[in-house]
Symmetry: C2
């Protein structure tokens, strides 16, 4: 029987994990440098946390469960915003203004796996609470852009498509939509790019919405909003205006968004969204906290990895694995017994030390193994040990020296 | 309504996460320096992966679930060894000998939360596959010790209690235990320290085992084993003999262990085990891989944090938060409009830059905020901007200089 990882999940062997950690490092550095503090929450939450506020789009995709014999419903977290809002609410009036938090949690969606969409993924979440101004929207977008730029992407590769829930709502209502159909129409609009025009028209009719209400989204529109004019100026101040454009076909699927919403896409439109976010001014209060404005985004690892690989910016991870400072081999005799003690000495000095476990005493073969490990130096333990001496070979220059034990660490660290 | 994290799980606010990451860094550094490669697997696995091989102790503690409408049973991972064995098996004959892997996954147990035992926790796993010798057992134990030592613990604080399944089995069988009661007796012995003598005797009788078979575990025993004699020499070679003692009351609860088993405890016996591990030579083959010897351990964050805090080696995390290089404030006038652009300039140079969001122009108050952020420097944006100049204050020495834009970054990085 061949055992496999569950459908839509991944095994990360060392090179796979190194590639993921390369992305995580870019996310973490961009966040910390920009003054965001890292947080984490539970991998699962009370099911209610999602059924109450996120809207049906998320609820249908939950993995939910109970403890055997228990009566409390839990769900693996499908997104981070409800956890963050709950944590902010728990702080109550002691919450700093602003609060700038980020996290890199795992998330889970019980949907059919497809390109760019898995059942388990990592997502970078960046949120800023307490600032009711487009300057905060611009700051979180700038943080996203900075991470993408550090990974090698340019304004030619990706675009931030920015919209505003109020503008979209006005366009729909001006087109003849009834007020009570707004949430349904927003949900349809969010999925419009993922289906053919015929299917979209059919879905609209099924929902009792005249497809003509969406016609203003087919052409460039001059509709604007005070928030967006201010945001435009802020994006310029942050030096990222060339990465952004206004695009009112963006609405975001989640029910809790208010005001500005945005998505980051590969410029050619070749993949699902790299990131999505917006303002959610009411959410912290809904979870029992103070009334506080908020804006944030989530960026998953799956689509981003596809985009980076497609552009030649992410390899298979093998070149990202840590390489040893020293590789220890034995030429036989006293060497064998000295390996563990020598490796210990190196580790005590915070060096990255590997060793051969092969039985062979063929120094040529062992040096080949040392070179394959990409170590900078090899230590050859041989008959010189009887004189208290260690043979050290620089694997790059091929220079070889014989050193006393007391000289060893300084030589290897220089 | 007050929303809370599920029972037995934790919210990690920034300082909480900084404390956890301090431990994770010690684990990761000890692993990488010792030549282990990091891996990760799915947060949940097929339920069968655990029901087949881990024994009842684990199976009773699983959070299991299905996808709505699906027919596949999954379980949140309660431990990492089955995932690791499955991943090793998937590599088949291409698996390197030895394979040295580590990971820092989350794990989940659906049991009653108690001191040292939560429903979600982080666990450091270190495993070495392919070396059928006590030298590998000693190497993984030495890696555990190195991480604990780097966190400030000494041989006075913790002890590695080492045992051997064969020795324990022989002691039980010599005491009169029937062969077919061995697994049950091992399970009882594993839990013996956690209950009173009376309850232990009662549990033994319930399982139809004469309590007298356990009497040899009450006194120091001279029973030994070739593996343990070799292991003793290897522990000395690794320089960690003073951290270790043989103790045949250690058996480990999991069914898959063979040979050497060990636990790391706080020396005073004040907490649950800090870590536990041992040899599991048959497991990779059981999951469809090659027949390969293996040894490893798991160390959770919960008990370790309790021990470190108790010994004054881990604070509340506030002193571990990253501190900014620069804090930007505006003294009014042109300053306000220049904040975003100035922060951008600093971030472009990979500096950690924060800013005030306060409306006040009281520079004294703003400098107090800058000092509270623990930034090294403050940049005061004021009327000097009209001459293209920036006021930079060293918040430690209180020295203040006025610099041109082109001089700014070099000064801040020096």
């Amino acid at each position: 029987m061949a055992w496999q990882s569950p459908k839509g999940t991944r095994d990360f062997f060392p090179a796979d994990l190194a590639a993921l950690q390369h992305i995580e490092k870019a996310w973490r550095t961009a966040s910390i440098n920009a003054g965001f503090d890292e947080i984490e929450g539970p991998m699962f939450e009370h099911l209610d946390l999602y059924t109450v506020k996120s809207g049906e789009g998320i609820v249908n995709e939950l993995f939910s469960f109970r403890r055997s014999g228990g009566d409390t419903d839990y769900a693996l977290r499908p997104e981070f915003t409800p956890t963050l809002a709950r944590m902010a609410a728990a702080k109550g009036r002691s919450l700093s203004i602003p609060t700038k938090w980020f996290g890199i949690p795992n998330h889970f969606r019980a949907e059919r796996p497809q390109r760019g969409r898995l059942r388990e993924f990592k997502q970078w979440n960046v949120d800023m609470l307490g600032i009711d101004s487009p300057s905060a929207d611009a700051e979180v977008i700038a943080t996203a852009i900075r991470a993408l730029a550090s990974l090698g992407l340019t304004p030619d590769d990706v675009v931030v498509r920015i919209s505003h829930r109020d503008v979209v709502a006005k366009m729909l209502l001006d087109g003849g939509l009834k007020e009570d159909q707004l949430q349904t129409a927003l949900g349809l609009l969010d999925k419009r790019e993922k289906m053919s025009r015929d299917i979209f028209v059919e879905k609209a009719k099924e929902a009792n919405i005249d497809p003509v209400v969406f016609s203003s989204f087919d052409s460039e529109t001059n509709t604007s909003h005070q928030d967006l004019e201010t945001l435009q100026a802020e994006l310029s101040a942050w030096g990222i205006a060339q990465w952004c454009k206004f695009d009112f076909s963006i609405v975001r699927g989640l029910a809790y968004y208010t005001g500005v919403v945005f998505e980051i896409h590969e410029s050619g439109g070749n993949e699902r969204a790299i990131a999505g976010g917006g303002r959610y001014d009411g959410l912290v209060e809904m979870f029992g906290g103070p009334s506080i404005p908020a804006v944030g985004f989530g960026m998953g690892d799956v689509v981003l990895s596809l985009v980076l690989r497609d552009k030649g910016l992410l390899g298979d991870g093998n070149d990202l694995l840590p390489s040893p400072d020293v590789f220890v081999i034995s030429a036989g005799g006293e060497g064998d017994a000295a390996i563990a003690e020598t490796v210990s000495l190196l580790l005590d000095s915070n060096l990255h030390a590997r060793r051969s476990y092969k039985a062979t005493k063929n120094v040529g073969k062992l040096l080949t193994e040392a070179a394959k490990s990409k170590a900078k130096y090899a230590i050859i333990l041989g008959e010189e040990l009887s004189r208290g001496e260690y043979v050290v070979k620089n694997l790059e220059t091929k220079d070889q020296v014989t050193l006393l034990r007391a000289e060893l660490i300084e030589h290897l660290k220089s």
